[in-house]
């Protein structure tokens, strides 16, 4: 498949850029942050996104979706990465809808996917239990009880946890990876407590405690971990698309600053040392672009390379976004470290995105293991 987006995808990207420029520039995130907004996102904007179909792109037509595919959804992420837009798109659509579609039974899909497509349901994934990404180290327990299960444990870094209607909780019914299963938990249920955390990127994250919480198994027992793994690879690619947008925006702003700012009587962009560092960043970003488009296509094609591609992409994008956001601040000089200038927001978002679903250390190591060394 040609490594370019088609006309329809381009149109979607253009319309996303337009909406986000008007409705969700970086200043919107600043406002959410400074007002300590209780929701951490703009529900009206979220509704507009749903009206534009963004919440339905990866959902099959049978469940009220558009079945447009992940390449298109990736274009939206890239544009949201540029504007640092806070919304439940990643938690609900990339993670929630994907895992329900992969693992859920028909009834579960029927009850949840149309609501996600309409933008009326926010879904959060409760996965992590330690400070570092580790999907196999699950100690939250799930014990069969009557028709359902009872869950107990503690989850950290639950993205959009405090605004979710439903949680998909990863819990253990037995030892080993096969003993790890997925459960649907209503956010209002007894025994569940959700504590919002204030993060560096001013986005939503929560710590969730479950004490004998009633839950419904998502899909079949024994199949949860495989679905979780595939969903994580898909979500890593989506997040990489967002990070690609973020690094491109930070880079372009920096190049613009280098052209505009004068020191010692000349534009600082005329200093060769900065030029070469800019050219290096350009090169790394070019590589990231290729990995992201290839990986997005791999989702839609259900390619057997999905795992390796997701791993490579998150690793390379993670490494590059650190380089680019650090250089962006350094090249902005004194103004770059003030809160008034927006460039710092990109660095902060980069750090949290880096941690999400495995940082570049995690994925470098994983890639070596996938290759048998």
């Amino acid at each position: 498949m040609a490594l370019v987006i088609n006309e329809e995808q381009q149109m979607l990207k253009t319309s996303a850029k337009e909406l986000l420029k008007n409705r969700a520039p970086v200043s919107a995130l600043r406002l959410l942050r400074d007002s300590k907004d209780s929701k951490g996102y703009d529900p009206q904007l979220w509704q507009e996104m749903a009206e534009m179909g963004w919440t339905a792109l990866n959902i099959p037509e049978a469940y009220g979706g558009l079945d447009f595919g992940y390449v298109g959804l990736g274009q939206i992420m890239e544009e949201m990465g540029r504007t640092l837009t806070a919304s439940p798109l990643f938690s609900t659509v990339w993670m929630g809808a994907t895992v329900i579609n992969l693992a859920g039974n028909v009834l579960q899909k029927e009850s949840l996917l149309p609501a996600i497509a309409e933008g009326t349901q926010v879904v959060a994934l409760a996965l992590e239990e330690t400070n570092r990404h580790n999907p196999s180290r699950i100690s939250t327990t799930a014990i069969a009880s009557g028709e359902g299960y009872v869950l107990s444990g503690r989850k950290v870094f639950v993205l959009d946890g405090h605004i979710a209607d439903k949680l998909v909780v990863v819990a253990r019914t037995a030892d080993g990876d096969e003993g790890i299963n997925l459960f649907l938990v209503d956010s209002k249920v007894e025994g569940l407590s959700i504590e919002r955390k204030w993060m560096m990127d001013s986005r939503n994250s929560a710590t969730v405690t479950l004490e004998n919480v009633s839950a419904e198994l998502l899909g079949e027992e024994g199949e949860g971990f495989a679905a979780l793994e595939k969903m994580m690879d898909i979500a890593r690619i989506g997040l990489s698309a967002e990070m690609l947008g973020t690094m491109q925006e930070a880079f372009e702003r920096t190049i613009a600053y280098l052209k505009e700012r004068t020191q010692f009587g000349v534009q600082i962009g005329s200093f060769q040392a900065l030029q070469h560092r800019a050219a290096l960043m350009y090169s790394e970003i070019e590589l990231c672009k290729s990995l992201v488009i290839k990986s997005l296509q791999a989702i839609d094609e259900d390619s057997s390379d999905l795992t390796k591609l997701a791993c490579m992409t998150k690793a390379k994008v993670g490494e590059t976004i650190e380089l680019v956001t650090n250089e962006a601040i350094q090249m902005h000089g004194g103004i770059g470290v003030t809160d008034e200038e927006e460039i710092g927001f990109f660095m902060k978002r980069a750090r949290v995105a880096q941690r999400t679903l495995g940082d570049y250390h995690y994925h470098l190591d994983r890639f070596a293991k996938l290759n048998g060394f």
């Binding site: 570092r132 560096m200 020191q263 601040i329 004194g334 008034e340 660095m347 250390h361």
Partner: protein, 394 residues
């Protein structure tokens, strides 16, 4: 200065040790843990504890806030050998410096070197007694690394200068009593010339300040505005239009000040505690060599400081080497603070609601400024390549 025999030194060491043992409160015998642990002095002094006050007053009365400065200006009058012993004895019990200020760090050295006798007698004793909080007015919006492009003007009005303009990155300007300041006194002269070094009272109409918020949150930095502010002409330090000489002298002083910050827990211990070992090695195989390289570089940088001092003692001039220390130290500091965030994972990127939360993330953000303030890394590399390596300009 008197010369000291080995016996004198032994006696001095014994006396100092005894005095410190008796006078340094237990709570003052540990490294600074937070900004509150530093006493800055000033006309409205704020102590964070009784011990801190006691310790400051005892040391002040002995002249040991500035142990090596001449006694007649309020210093301790220690000679080199004594000062070395003094520092060793302080370090032995981890005694905190009783007073920290830009007066001690910067203005004092500059006055001792460039000031008139009147200025020394007037200002240095105040600095030693911690009575005046001085801040520094160098950078301006738009000047950045190109410090010599500064625009703040001081007009000669006969008996005083009339000052108009704006300074940025003036640390603690909102709390300071006075400012030492670079101003343009000859607007027609080329950049480096026509600049003078003057002292200005902050407590006057015509001087206003505004704090700057950083990416790490609140900060000591301010913007300072001069709107027809005044200062008597005797507050000119050094020669008119030759302030650049003093500025360069002080920049070198400042650079050697910004270096590695003390960390509460070593990177290595933090990583072992948080990440753990597998088969005896750190469970993050990518972080492991990064930490190792950092440890080696940090140790090597410390040894290089030591070697440079030893070489200076042996008569080799360090030249422009402070640029290297500034560059390397701040880059190492940025690295270690990034690694701490990585080690702590999700917790590392927590920000919290209050400035005292999210120390790792905020600390990392703060270090981003290290390679910008006091001369950017790029300027340091320029200095190394031109002044040390002698590479040509274009």
């Amino acid at each position: 200065m008197s010369t000291t025999t080995q016996t004198d030194i032994k006696t001095f060491r014994a006396e100092t040790r005894a005095w410190l043992e008796e006078n340094c409160p237990q709570s003052m015998r540990s490294p600074y843990r937070s900004a509150e642990d530093i006493f800055w002095g000033g006309s409205k002094p704020e102590f964070s504890s009784e011990d801190q006050k006691l310790w400051f007053e005892r040391m002040r009365d002995k002249g040991w806030t500035a142990p090596a400065w001449p006694k007649k200006y309020g210093g301790g009058g220690l000679n080199k050998a004594e000062y070395k012993v003094f520092k060793e004895e302080m370090a032995r019990i981890n005694a905190r410096p009783p007073l920290f200020s830009f007066g001690l760090m910067m203005l004092g050295p500059a006055l001792l070197y460039f000031g008139s006798e009147e200025q020394k007698m007037k200002y240095i004793p105040e600095i030693c007694r911690g009575e005046i909080w001085w801040c520094q007015g160098y950078s301006e919006p738009g000047s950045g690394s190109d410090l010599a492009s500064l625009q703040t003007r001081a007009e000669d009005m006969g008996d005083h200068f009339l000052i108009n303009g704006q300074k940025i990155w003036t640390s603690y300007a909102d709390q300071a009593d006075k400012i030492f300041c670079l101003v343009r006194t000859n607007p027609k002269a080329p950049k480096h010339t026509g600049i003078s070094f003057v002292l200005i009272d902050m407590n006057q109409e015509g001087v206003t300040t505004r704090p700057i918020k950083l990416i790490s949150g609140k900060s000591p930095f301010c913007e300072t505005f001069f709107d027809n502010a005044k200062t008597p002409k005797e507050n000119l330090v050094g020669t008119l239009n030759d302030g650049w000489t003093i500025a360069k002298y002080l920049l070198t002083h400042e650079r050697s000040g910004i270096g590695l910050m003390p960390a509460t827990q070593s990177l290595q211990d933090m990583a072992i505690e948080e990440i753990g070992l597998e088969n005896g090695v750190l469970a993050d195989p990518i972080l492991r060599p990064q930490i190792t390289r950092w440890m080696i570089n940090e140790a090597a940088l410390k040894l290089t400081t030591e070697r440079t001092m030893d070489e200076a003692k042996a008569g080799q001039s360090p030249g422009a080497k402070s640029a290297f220390f500034k560059y390397y130290g701040t880059e190492l500091n940025k690295e270690q603070s990034e690694m701490r965030v990585v080690i702590k994972g999700f917790e590392g990127v927590e920000w919290g609601e209050d400035y005292n939360d999210g120390k790792l993330a905020r600390g990392m953000c703060r270090t981003k400024g290290n390679s910008i303030e006091g001369g950017t890394s790029e300027v340091m590399l320029n200095i190394i390549s031109k002044r040390i390596l002698g590479l040509p300009s274009r």
